[in-house]
């Protein structure tokens, strides 16, 4: 090879190397904001409002909320709870894993992302190392009673009310108001005739935060609830529980119940915020004809809470008295690793300015407007970091 050829080759190699380095450096600065967004999974109840916080929900664009300017205006992305049984890939280059369906599953996935354990199911290629693939969990339930752990911090931002949704396929008026005591009986012993109507309680899928909250609200253990809802859970297949907050599922069970025992009305725990969002069109799916949300005529302390919703679509709003009730009202949370909130004062300002404190992005007036569009009310303690719990065990 001649000296000239060598020089030309050298020049070509240098040019290619320079071009490659330029491409590499320029692409590092041109990455889209969503590329490094905080990643959330979990609750069905809060998936739509978190999608709105991320910038798009049910066909509508929203201004994405961001962490502080000093922390890089980091955005968030949120993976829906459904379709159940599907797989998600939360980062480029990362493994796919089972979609966490519900608050419990979301907190479990976050727990494995933090402790380096494995999460998933055979349907998505087996359990996977999800370290770094989940940053926060959407949760419509707080820590379990008696959980004194501190690894996870449940940061409230909204309030919701939970009542029963009902559907009665046959003619004749459905029962639309029940007491807590009646609900306790229904969800622990099964079908009961009240006001001349056979009422059949149905079970929510067990990873749902609404499932665990509802059991507490109606004062039953999960074992009692399992027994009380067996008949309904077998209507659409053996042991098939309902995806929470899904009016079409309520109707399907009501129709099946009517076929089995004519005149039966089915009921199930249901988020009032979701009922409002679906009624007003903020969330997709709408409310299936004949499905309604019931009133609580006695919350167990003698208070008639009435309906959790006021007015009708498309201007339905929450009933603040119901939402603030200590039994049937609840907070909804974003759950993060406590380790990100303590330690070095200047560290993790992205997570802190996104979720922590009344001045955080999630608690901002703009976020509140979005929150209310989805049927929630802003929690008075929005952004507080006083509620903590343990990592959840398990792989799904």
């Amino acid at each position: 090879m001649t000296s000239t050829r060598m020089k030309r080759l050298g020049a070509a190699v240098t040019t290619v190397a320079l071009a490659a380095s330029l491409v590499a450096s320029s692409s590092a600065h041109a990455d889209p904001k969503q590329y490094g967004a905080l990643i959330g999974v979990g609750s069905d109840t809060t998936q739509d409002v978190l999608n709105a916080f991320a910038g798009f929900s049910a066909g509508t664009n929203y201004v994405p909320i961001q962490s502080s300017a000093a922390s890089g205006q980091r955005q968030l992305i949120s993976f829906d709870a459904v379709p159940a049984g599907s797989c998600i890939t939360t980062k480029t280059g990362a493994p796919s894993f089972a979609r966490p369906n519900g608050s419990g599953a979301g907190r479990r996935a976050l727990s494995r992302a933090l402790d380096g354990g494995l999460y998933g199911s055979a349907a998505c290629g087996g359990v996977k190392d999800v370290a770094g693939l989940v940053n926060f969990a959407r949760s419509s339930a707080g820590p379990d009673n008696g959980d004194v752990g501190t690894a996870l911090t449940y940061i409230p931002y909204g309030r919701d009310g939970v009542s029963f949704a009902y559907y009665k396929a046959s003619a004749g008026a459905p029962v639309t108001a029940l007491t807590r005591a009646q609900l306790t009986t229904l969800f622990s012993t099964g079908a009961t005739t009240i006001g001349g109507v056979r009422i059949l309680p149905c079970g929510i899928q067990t990873s749902s935060g609404t499932f665990s909250f509802w059991n507490g609200a109606v004062n039953v253990t999960s074992g009692q609830e399992s027994a009380g809802t067996t008949e309904c859970n077998n209507l659409l297949g053996a042991g098939v529980r309902a995806e929470e907050n899904t009016p079409s599922d309520v109707k399907a069970r009501g129709d099946a119940a009517q076929a089995a025992v004519p005149g039966t009305e089915v009921i199930i725990g249901f988020s009032a915020a979701n009922f409002i969002a679906k009624s007003n069109g903020a969330s997709a799916g709408g409310i299936t004809a004949g499905v309604g949300i019931g009133s609580i005529s006695d919350n167990g302390s003698g208070t008639n809470l009435g309906s959790p919703v006021v007015g009708s679509a498309p201007t339905m709003t929450p009933n603040p008295g119901f939402y603030n009730d200590g039994t049937f009202g609840r907070r909804v949370y974003n759950v993060v690793a406590t380790s990100l909130l303590g330690g070095l004062p200047g560290a993790n300002a992205d997570v802190k300015s996104m979720f922590v404190g009344a001045a955080s992005a999630v608690c901002s007036p703009a976020a509140d407007t979005t929150l209310e569009k989805f049927g929630f009310l802003q929690a008075p303690d929005c952004g507080a970091t006083t509620i903590t719990g343990s990592l959840l065990t398990g792989q799904l």
Partner: protein, 234 residues
């Protein structure tokens, strides 16, 4: 031609064959040694690094000196790779640990390197205050990419002056598989500069040294064989 000449030629042929065979044998042995070394490297990277395991290569800090608010990069040679991608379970983590702490022994969780309860063990934080934790390497190739610019600003008032290892680790299920590091000195105000004398990082990284050594051995064997072949009378 005498009987003695014939005998001599015959001996030469035997010797030449022997040398050729020896040369081939040496070549095979050298190749096997390189292969074994490579396999050794691979298997060691596929598992947890043993205490005392040296870094794969040095991290280059740019600029090499600065203050607590200086934005600096800490990058391995480009390209550098983890032993596998995120699908295989590998993640890229960062660390800053006192010089007495062996980076090979670090384990990691969602907050970065796990504290041993006594030392200041932290991830590196980018200029926005976010820890560089559990990043995903390139799909299929394990390329180390997406490493941000760092700053010492979040450590003000926390890290005491001293000498530290800083670097990046490829981790598998939270355990260090390989790592890249360099040593620095931090002042009380968190100004930083390279630690002198240079750290225990080899001048030439093993992943460069081994192939060059293998090529040298093979080339040497080939040259010796040719030289001997040329010097043996026909």
């Amino acid at each position: 031609m005498t009987t003695s000449d014939n005998q001599h030629r015959s001996n030469n042929r035997i010797e030449r064959k022997t040398i050729t065979m020896r040369s081939k044998f040496l070549t095979v042995v050298a190749g096997a040694a390189v292969a074994a070394a490579s396999v050794g490297l691979l298997s060691s990277t596929a598992n947890a690094a043993a205490p005392g395991t040296p870094p794969v290569a040095a991290i280059t800090v740019t600029p090499p000196t600065g203050t607590s608010s200086t934005s600096f990069t800490a990058l391995p040679p480009s390209p550098s790779f983890c032993p596998g991608d995120a699908v295989a379970g590998y993640r890229i983590n960062s660390f800053v640990v006192p010089i007495a702490v062996d980076p090979a022994t670090l384990t990691y969780n969602g907050a970065g390197p796990v504290s041993n309860g006594t030392d200041n063990i932290y991830p590196l934080y980018d200029t926005l205050g976010t820890g560089f934790i559990n990043a995903t390497p390139g799909l299929s190739d394990g390329l180390i990419t997406g490493v941000p610019a760092f700053s010492w600003s979040v450590f003000v008032g926390t890290l005491p002056a001293g000498n530290y290892h800083i670097g990046l680790a490829c981790t598998l299920n939270g355990v260090t598989a390989t790592y890249f590091s360099t040593d620095i000195t931090l002042t009380a105000a968190l100004g930083y500069s390279p630690l002198a004398p240079p750290s225990d990082v080899p001048e030439v990284p093993l992943n460069v040294l081994l192939p060059i050594s293998a090529a040298a051995i093979l080339g040497g064997g080939f040259l010796i064989a040719r030289k001997r072949h040329n010097h043996i009378p026909a």
